[in-house]
Subunit: 342 residues, 2 copies
């Protein structure tokens, strides 16, 4: 078992949204403000930007005075390119000693003024897309603590949202539970994690072992899933994550209306039963006792009336709690978890 | 489908074995001399080294005179470190304009004299462990031509040897078949390929698509496998390779006496039937018509008498041709391939 740990970002955060004025471009910032408000001091937006994360506006100087430790870039720039008006803010923040946390493709070190300012002030430049340098090979050796992994019929069907909802609901019920991030937005919310899809293939299972380290027997890691065993582009990532996570329980994530694999539209999505079966079969390699405890469904495309019928039918078919975490919360899945594991 | 291709090394080769005097250290050189003798001009070994690849000895000058295009490092140095007596040879070869092909961990560019000599002469420094820079994401879209992929109960059970044997036997029977390499030794034998386990996880299936590109309908790619779906360290690599290869047929590779997963000895190896079943089930995602056409067994640990009994029992159990390619050749598997596909 590896003793390697992943870096943890220093809070409180100032979330930079600049001139990004729509919720899609600013989804990382919105996610951070929603899921870890206790780590957020404020937001920095350019004059005239009507979009707000619902946290106090701050200048860099106000953030410094408030003890902010990290400027977190909460937006994706249009076209992926950072303009000079953004670079100036990052440079000033680094000069003031704030760590800069970025999930952008461009590496912060490649921005000359930013690199120099950080070097002079001692601030860290954290590129969330870059995995740790020395990840171990997966061992498959059982470690203590319990693990709940999200899996899915495809990419982008709500695995991160489901994991965050479940972790929060478990904590609210007094359980010792930790959200574990495997993608860049999740990492920025959790303040730590490994971007699993950027890891060299041989180390994916080892990276997953690092993400959810040994813990005390009653602790639950709630692990963000990636991809799908049924996605022909990324299934290898999903399998490495499944084996390295050694889940005691899985929740299958699904989106109503997702009939074809998004990145391979010639392929239909699997049935939920097929998805459950293959994930359990593969997961048994590193945890023979694995079981599926529920289905998390994004029902945004259904009317309120249809939603209830849809979930009731699914629940009868699969004999598992089927919920939309946005509409219903996750309590019925956690009830099942209690029944199965307490 | 990607039009990206992998680099091909220039032959003829001079194989460097230096002072490596045992067949384990020199296995890459031995493999190249065995499987692609038509590309080998000679070997370069230090004075007094009794190990020979069975090809002519040459000095660098003799190799230059004979039109050698590449010096291929056919050995792994003890402890992985290249000594100064090796570097001097590489530098001299690069200065003479030969490309240097290396499967070592150390990058050739990091050897100062070698880098300078290559820059001045225009020779290429080829690090086989380094994958192409811009691999595509896998599409899962069916491409023309036929593909035969080796899979296994574990790592290092004869997948490369089986693929090379099958490709050679198919060619001998007049079939249009190409060995496709996915590991460094295989790449040095084939002169081209992608080291699939060094690819960033998101691109493994895409890399596999590049390794066996579209071809004419009767052409067979015989693809070297990697890892195993039952190896908890590397199964993700195996699954990405399986999906990207879109095999029409698989051959399962096995080693008699391999009772536990080599890198995870707490886990038993799977039964051959379980290995066939899970590989077919997963492969169906990108090729629903996939079938298993045989089992390739390394029976080195059995006596000659026991070998026949063992293979006959296995064959009755699985209803598939079961051969040891070293002892028996691969013809019975190719017979099955003809029956199934012609």
């Amino acid at each position: 078992m590896s003793s390697l740990t992943t870096p943890t970002f220093k809070s409180p955060y100032l979330i930079f949204i600049g001139d990004a004025d729509n919720t899609i471009d600013a989804k990382t910032g919105l996610g951070i403000a929603q899921w870890c408000p206790e780590r957020v001091a404020g937001q920095l937006r350019f004059a005239g930007n009507p979009l707000s994360l619902g946290v106090p506006d701050m200048t860099l100087q106000q953030a410094v005075d408030a003890g902010v430790k990290s400027l977190v870039i909460g937006v994706a720039p249009v076209g992926g390119v950072i303009g000079p008006h953004w670079v100036a803010v990052l440079e000033e923040a680094a000069a003031a000693g704030m760590d800069i946390v970025s999930g952008l493709h461009v590496r912060l070190e490649s921005l000359p003024g930013v690199e120099t300012a950080a070097r002079q002030s001692g601030a860290s430049l954290i590129n969330v897309r870059t995995p740790a340098e020395s990840l171990p090979i997966g061992t498959g050796i059982k470690r203590s603590g319990k693990r709940l992994l999200m899996v899915g019929i495809d990419c982008s069907v709500g695995k991160k949202y489901s994991a965050l909802s479940l972790a929060k609901a478990m904590q609210a019920r007094g359980m010792d539970a930790t959200f574990r991030a495997t993608g860049q937005t999740g990492i920025m919310i959790a303040g730590t994690g490994v971007p699993i899809d950027t890891v060299v293939a041989d180390f994916v299972a080892g990276a997953a072992e690092v993400v959810s380290p040994a813990n005390h027997p009653d602790h639950w890691d709630v692990i963000e899933g990636q991809g799908s065993l049924f996605n022909p582009s990324y299934a290898g990532v999903s399998l490495g994550l499944l084996h390295g996570s050694q889940p005691d329980a899985i929740v299958v994530c699904h989106e109503v209306g997702r009939e074809f694999i998004a990145s391979a539209p010639q392929l239909p999505t699997p049935t939920l039963q097929a998805c459950i079966d293959l994930n359990l079969r593969c997961a048994q390699l590193t945890n023979p006792a694995v079981r599926c405890i529920g289905v998390s469904v994004n029902t945004t495309k259904l009317t309120e009336a249809d939603r209830g019928d849809y979930l009731a039918t699914l629940e009868a078919e699969l004999n598992l709690p089927c919920v939309d975490p946005i509409a219903d919360g996750c309590d019925r899945i956690i009830d099942r978890l209690f029944t199965e594991f307490q």
